[in-house]
């Protein structure tokens, strides 16, 4: 079930009311959430429950074992490595086995060999990329001493499988989540209101905007691109940039809102990335939970920027390439990651850690143009298609006949408006009419009426579910 489907609201209503009914029994509340999470995840496919249970067991056992051993001991390091390796192996098998099998098959065939293996079409469990990373976060955080290993498997299970953020993040750090399980939250109107605000904005992003942007994107990218004009390819790419942002940011906001209703605070995952004026800043605003995870668990352990410039560039490339691969088992995602890695390396080389050679406006344009061009391989089905679209940007491509509606060129204005309103650049509205009760409730009624009219009857899954 996805957050915008009616069945989710029924599920949420039951879980929410039961949770607060049990407000004097914290352990029961947590067990309820665990059960609800199992139902939520099993709704996708009950078979997936076995795999997530395995990952939970591995991380729980690994952390507990490491707790019993002195830091630095060889056996401890071995078990920790094994625990992380098993989690990564699960991800590798279910997400990347077919990719590597097909790629190596193609490569060997091109070299004149005839490998006997083929892809086995392994079903990709939804959310695996997210919960494996959370499991690794738990193992590493306990190993580092940021968090004590938890003897109760139910708590570890809830951390890894907490339904608001299970299938598409945000990736929550163990060190920030576990203390929240120990605290008994207090039901309050403020809690409801803040959760509702996040959920409502997320719902607007996802159901109101992202799903209604799909008609600008899919007819182009899912078709033979030669049918489409250069402006259509450019327009569809712009629309995709908006779609993926509203889709993913929307899901994250809804997850944050839902979690808040249960007294859990999940960090924000997006901070108006299309307002960033350099690439490093973009990655501090886009999918913040993933980029910070990669920074803390991959980039810094590799050496970060502590070594020479060349080592830093290597670390940036490795981190971003793997980050690209995390998004999907296809070379187009690897290319996307590599482009961003190269872009970050160039940014570091040209600008150092501070200062710019060009003004903010120019820097913003260059950065956003770069980001837009990198969305092309992310969305395209193949490199041929990606090249087709890139050539459209240069004008060096024979334009096809089909055009997109002119309204597509106003999509960037929506992103600008979103950033301006969200960052309170337009007006600070603490004391405006929107805070007035009548204006609030009346405005909410109008908004709900409009959202219903734009509600996607054919519920689109979240774009990031495929990751």
């Amino acid at each position: 079930m996805i957050f915008t489907e009616p069945i989710f609201f029924l599920f949420l209503a039951f879980t929410f009311s039961t949770y607060w009914f049990l407000r004097k029994h914290r352990e029961l509340q947590l067990f309820l959430l665990l059960g609800a999470s199992a139902v939520f995840y099993g709704w996708w496919d009950a078979r997936f429950l076995a795999l997530i249970t395995f990952v939970i067991l591995v991380s729980w056992v690994t952390a507990l074992f490491a707790k019993t051993r002195p830091a630095g001991e060889k056996t401890r390091r071995l078990v920790l490595t094994l625990g992380i390796a098993v989690c990564l192996a699960v991800l590798g098998i279910f997400k990347y086995f077919d990719f590597f099998a097909e790629s190596s098959h193609a490569m060997l065939s091109a070299l004149g060999f005839n490998p006997g293996w083929t892809a086995v079409n392994i079903l990709l469990p939804v959310g695996i990329s997210f919960y494996v990373f959370q499991a690794i976060s738990y193992i590493v955080d306990t190993a580092r001493g940021d968090l004590a290993a938890e003897p109760r498997i139910s708590r570890v299970a809830l951390y890894i499988a907490f339904f608001p953020q299970l299938v598409a993040g945000p990736i929550v750090r163990a060190a920030s989540f576990f203390p929240q399980m120990d605290r008994t939250p207090k039901f309050s109107r403020a809690l409801l209101a803040s959760g509702f605000k996040a959920f409502l904005l997320g719902f607007i992003y996802k159901a109101g905007l992202a799903d209604n942007l799909a008609p600008f994107v899919d007819p182009v990218y899912n078709d033979d691109l030669s049918n489409w004009s250069n402006s259509a390819l450019i327009g569809a790419t712009i629309a995709f940039a908006a779609q993926i942002y509203f889709d993913f940011a929307g899901y994250s906001l809804m997850a944050i809102g839902v979690a808040r209703w249960f007294g859990f605070f999940i960090p924000k995952n997006f901070e108006y990335p299309y307002a960033s004026s350099d690439l490093a800043d973009f990655w501090r605003r886009w999918h913040i939970s993933l980029s910070s995870w990669l920074r803390d668990y991959l980039y810094i352990p590799l050496g970060g920027n502590r070594g020479s410039n060349l080592m830093t560039y290597r670390n940036l490339m490795a981190t971003m390439v793997l980050g690209g691969l995390w998004h999907g088992a296809a070379w187009t995602f690897v290319a996307w990651g590599a482009m961003h890695g190269a872009g970050l390396a160039v940014h570091r080389y040209l600008f150092g850690r501070a200062g710019r050679w060009i003004g903010v406006a120019a820097s913003l344009i260059v950065t956003q143009l770069f980001v837009l061009l990198t969305w092309v391989p992310f969305r395209a089905d193949s490199f041929d298609d990606a090249m087709n679209v890139w050539f459209a940007f240069t004008g060096l491509r024979e334009s096809g006949p089909n055009m997109l509606p002119a309204a597509v060129w106003f999509i960037p204005l929506l992103l600008a408006l979103d950033a301006a309103l969200g960052r309170k650049r337009l007006v600070n509205l603490k004391k405006t009419a929107f805070g007035n009760p009548l204006a609030y409730w009346g405005g909410l009624g109008v908004l709900v009426g409009l959202l219903l009219a734009f509600y996607p009857l054919d519920a689109q899954p979240f774009v990031y579910f495929q990751f």
Binding site: D418, G445, V448, L450, A453, P456, L457
Partner: protein, 362 residues
């Protein structure tokens, strides 16, 4: 529509970012204000979509547009057949037009039929056709079937919460459907609770305009859809013995009226068509294998609809010709079956006198 989306997106983003609840708000006043805002925006969307003729497009809109296209092709008088899937499979309008013209009748046949077309849905599309057609049909034939008389919410068995299902249940259709449930349209307490529950949900979704702007497009821009597709592959294998027994089972027609609600709907429909200038209204039912379904429609012809031209495919000669593998399943014809039925139907139409005298010299 795209500009409507952009406008909506601006408004939604503004509201989403700017709305902030005040701790001073009273729940009752808040709820009342919320309801007022909701009703205002629902009304606004409804007025806009009706003025701009924006609908959640369905196949029936495509069939409507196809029919309108056909009606505008020439000055010939029009015969319209309005039915459900029995008719969608059985009425090859283009072929019937050719046959009629070969027999000296200038009429153009239009098939306005869609599978799972309930009485209410077909009523709506008949009215839409009448409003948009470049000329008034000379003759209207309306399908009569047990299934649509006794399953007012037929669509729930096919596609609940689809565009078609939501479109169908406006206030008027909901009221009639409830009347249909009262007249035997639901069987047993559990079924009635389920049907009424679904009806209520769909009526609410219809009222709230759900998805009308995300799925919507101007009705006139919906791509045309040919009603008759001439299927050539059977869905069910009907044993020859069963087919023969059913098709050769003759039961005398006993005069019967349909359930009150269906009787009333047909009466109002005739009044509507008459006020719109349709002078000739008839009823029909294509061939089916199950004898009880044929008998039901035939009995309506003897009873409720005895004053009208009523052509039910229970002629033994016709049924004997259909006693071969010309069936898609027990209630729908394949293309070969539709040809046999079409030949017979033309003779019946001519014999009934409803078409008037020949106008084209043979």
């Amino acid at each position: 529509m795209n500009w409507v989306f952009i406008l909506f997106a601006v408004v939604a983003l503004a509201f989403g970012h700017l709305l902030r609840v005040s701790n001073r708000s009273s729940l009752l006043l808040g709820f009342g204000t919320f309801l007022a805002g909701l009703i205002a925006s629902i009304a606004l969307v409804r007025v806009f979509t009706e003025r701009a003729d924006i609908v959640r497009a369905t196949g029936f809109d495509g069939i409507l547009n196809h029919g309108l296209e056909r009606a505008a092709m020439d000055d010939a008088p029009i015969i319209v057949f309005s039915g459900a899937s029995y008719s969608r499979n059985g009425i090859d309008a283009d072929r019937l037009t050719t046959l009629l013209r070969a027999r000296g009748y200038p009429h153009r046949v239009i098939n306005l039929s869609m599978e799972a077309g309930s009485l209410m849905e077909r009523r709506e599309y008949i009215e839409l056709f009448m409003e948009r057609s470049p000329k008034t049909p000379d003759t209207f034939f309306i399908e009569i079937a047990h299934e649509t008389d006794y399953k007012p919410a037929f669509i729930f068995g096919n596609s609940k919460f689809s565009n078609r299902a939501i479109n169908q249940f406006d206030v008027n259709a909901t009221a009639w459907t409830l009347a249909g449930f009262k007249d035997g349209g639901c069987v047993g307490l559990a079924d009635c609770i389920k049907q009424i529950g679904l009806l209520g949900a769909h009526a609410v979704l219809n009222t709230m305009n759900i998805g009308v702007l995300s799925q919507g497009e101007p009705r006139s821009e919906v791509d045309t859809l040919k009603p008759y597709e001439g299927p050539t592959e059977a869905r069910d294998d009907i044993p020859a013995g069963e087919r023969n027994a059913s098709l050769s089972a003759g039961k005398a027609r006993e005069a019967q009226d349909g359930p009150n609600w269906a009787l009333s709907v047909r009466q109002l429909q005739r009044e509507y068509l008459s006020t719109k200038g349709v002078e000739k209204i008839g009823y029909y039912f294509p061939p089916v294998v199950p004898e009880d379904l044929r008998t039901y429609s035939a009995s309506l012809c003897e009873g409720e609809l005895s004053a009208f031209t009523c052509i039910v495919a229970d002629d033994p000669t016709l049924l004997a010709k259909l006693d071969q593998p010309v069936w898609q399943d027990r209630t729908h014809l394949l293309a070969d079956g539709a040809k046999i039925y079409g030949d017979w139907l033309i003779e019946e139409l001519i014999a009934s006198g409803i078409l008037g005298p020949e106008e084209i010299a043979p």
